[in-house]
Amino acid sequence: MIAALILLPLCGGLAAFFLPSDRFRPLLLPVCGLAHLVLTFFVIQDGQAVSLPMAGNWIAVDPFSRLILLIVSLLFCGCSFYALGYLRYRIVWGNRIFVSCLLLFLSAMSLAAVARHLGLLWVAVEATTVASAPLIYYNRNRLSIEATWKYLILCSVGIALAMLGILFVAYAALAGGVQVSLQFDDILQGAAHYSRPWLRAGFVFLLVGFGTKAGFAPLHTWKPDAYGEAPGLVGALLAGGLTSVAFLALLRTLQIMDAAGDGGVAREAFLAMGLISLGFAAVFVIRQPDFKRLLAYSSVEHMGILAIGVAIGGIATFGAMLHLMNNALTKGVLFLSAGNIHRRFASKRVGEVQGAITLVPVSATLFLLGFLAITGSPPFAPFISEFTILRGIFMGGHYLTGGLFLFFLAVIFIGMGSTVLSVVFGTPLERKGDTNYRETMVTTGTPLVLLLIILLLGLYLPEPARKLFADAAALLEVKP
């Protein structure tokens, strides 16, 4: 069953590559997306701790995998419907590479979510980098080339550092006299005997490597360029799906450190990275003239929030797990509606885009509501998750962290707000570059659905969902 999760999009991607028709190729996307979603629902039903092992325990589903699979699958399914409208608008550009890479991207992300061998995890994450680079480059202008190159090099080097980290972890086993194995379960069992210096060195490299992929500051420099220049659809998948997968890799690292008894050190590092990311995001969000780059910095901010949540522990970890899903879905809303606005105005800069609410009313409203959601306004779900994390911080007595957290969040709210409001409201200017792009149900349907899910989660958390998040949080319980 799990194999189908990975192989289905893979075959879809290959089929898309060989299918000659530009008009019918996009149809593969919602087909594979829906099938993947259905499979995911079946896979996450199984309530055991580690279920459906395959290939000698290389691939299996544990609570983290369930969470990430659900997030990725939901987001991809929504975006695949959006892609129908987008690709029809951009039919002139051709879409063979785009569609194939999108499906391969999904396959790689699924593999990363279910991998239980560190080497396999590495291969999957590197595959996501390689599969997503051509997506950023879709509109083939100078700026997107620059963004693609920076993305490719920075992420590849980061992943190479992560490989070094994995090798150090293996060496820690060798130096500790334990059987060397990169199987996750073996590592968890033997970690207590690992050589401490090597394990810590490995942790640092893994943090830097996968942190580059997730987009923690100060390793985030590729994010504004990549998210800013990629089409909105790609931005949504990167910000929602890829960051979640990278964060999963970081969570696995934290699990290893916990098993070795060094969880305290690891959590301090996470806390530091989280606060630095929040700080960077706050600084760069102020007066940001490009509303897509703004979303990139928001992504950095939320990775920071996730890191802080996981570092504090206790109820904050539950909040972080909930926040993973909320962040992903809300980013979907934001990027997709921003993409619509961009297309209508043919520009991303605040000076040139004004009064979106009159020209593309649905997208502008969704953009505004998405902004309110992502900055933590009730009644949307991110408010619940951020509030839970904050409760955990203050209950744990980390008043300084809590104070900084609130301060940065406030700054970001104000900074983002000024940009978003000036984009949405106001009178539209007469510009030569305006297109006559009309929003259709296909391109506004998905963000609307995603926003409704966020609203629903904010008002009422269904029991199966709560159990999903609680199981995931329990994996990171610090065992005495």
């Binding site: 291969v123 590197e126 051509p134 480059y137 080339i145 620059e146 963004a147 920076k150 490989m163 800013g228």
Partner: protein, 214 residues
């Protein structure tokens, strides 16, 4: 370090190639050096772990990919864009060479202080691995052309490969194959992007890729 162990000699050759790469401006020669370096590294598992099915397949696969396929892609990329030479790097060739030598010396000194297991103490793997990582890093940050940045990445991966060889039992064949294939595809995509860079900017100068800021 007092033996003519073929593994040690090969590792020393790797370091010599590192120096050559840091100091050379001829792109074709650089690509071929990285190819030979990859080829040398692919032979090392045979010396380290003996001739077995696992190491033969690993060595063969690594040789094919690192020594033949990836350099072929890169050579094709520079042929398409008609670039033969690198420009003066950000800090000049001589300072780059000096930094590289200092890094190599540092690697040798540092690795003597690492808590290695008995079997690995005194072998050249760790220092050469660290030195190669440093060389790759230097190439990545100081060079101006996209293709030399890609070469820096490959050298960096070579350094990681050297470390990986010490742990061959932990790295089963499937994963090694996956890693190598990933590398191949990454270079393939890089080659394509380089071609597009050249088409857009009429040069492969990374300095031109600086309009995105803030």
């Amino acid at each position: 370090m007092d033996n003519y162990n073929p593994a040690n000699l090969l590792l020393l050759l790797v370091i010599l190639f590192n120096f050559f790469l840091l100091g050379s401006s001829r792109l074709g020669a650089c690509i071929r050096s990285v190819a030979i370096q990859g080829g040398i590294l692919s032979l090392l598992p045979l010396f380290l772990h003996g001739i077995s099915g696992h190491s033969l397949i690993l060595a063969g696969g690594a040789f094919l990919l690192k020594g033949l396929a990836i350099p072929f892609l890169l050579l094709r990329a520079i042929r398409q864009v008609h670039i033969k030479r690198e420009m003066e790097p950000l800090i000049g060739y001589v300072p780059t060479l000096l930094l590289g030598t200092l890094a190599t010396a540092g690697a040798f000194i540092f690795s003597d202080r690492l808590p290695l297991i008995e079997a690995h103490r005194g072998s050249l793997f760790i220092p050469v691995g660290l030195a190669t990582l440093a060389t790759g890093f230097l190439m990545l940050i100081t060079r101006r052309k996209a293709i030399t940045q890609a070469l820096g990445y490959l050298i960096f991966e070579n350094g990681v490969f050297i470390f990986g060889m010490l742990l061959a039992e932990a790295m089963p064949l499937m994963v090694e194959t996956g890693v190598l294939l990933d590398l191949l595809v990454a270079v393939f995509v890089m080659g394509i992007v380089m071609h597009q860079i050249n088409r857009e900017f009429s040069s492969m100068n990374i300095g031109q890729l600086s309009s995105l800021r803030e």
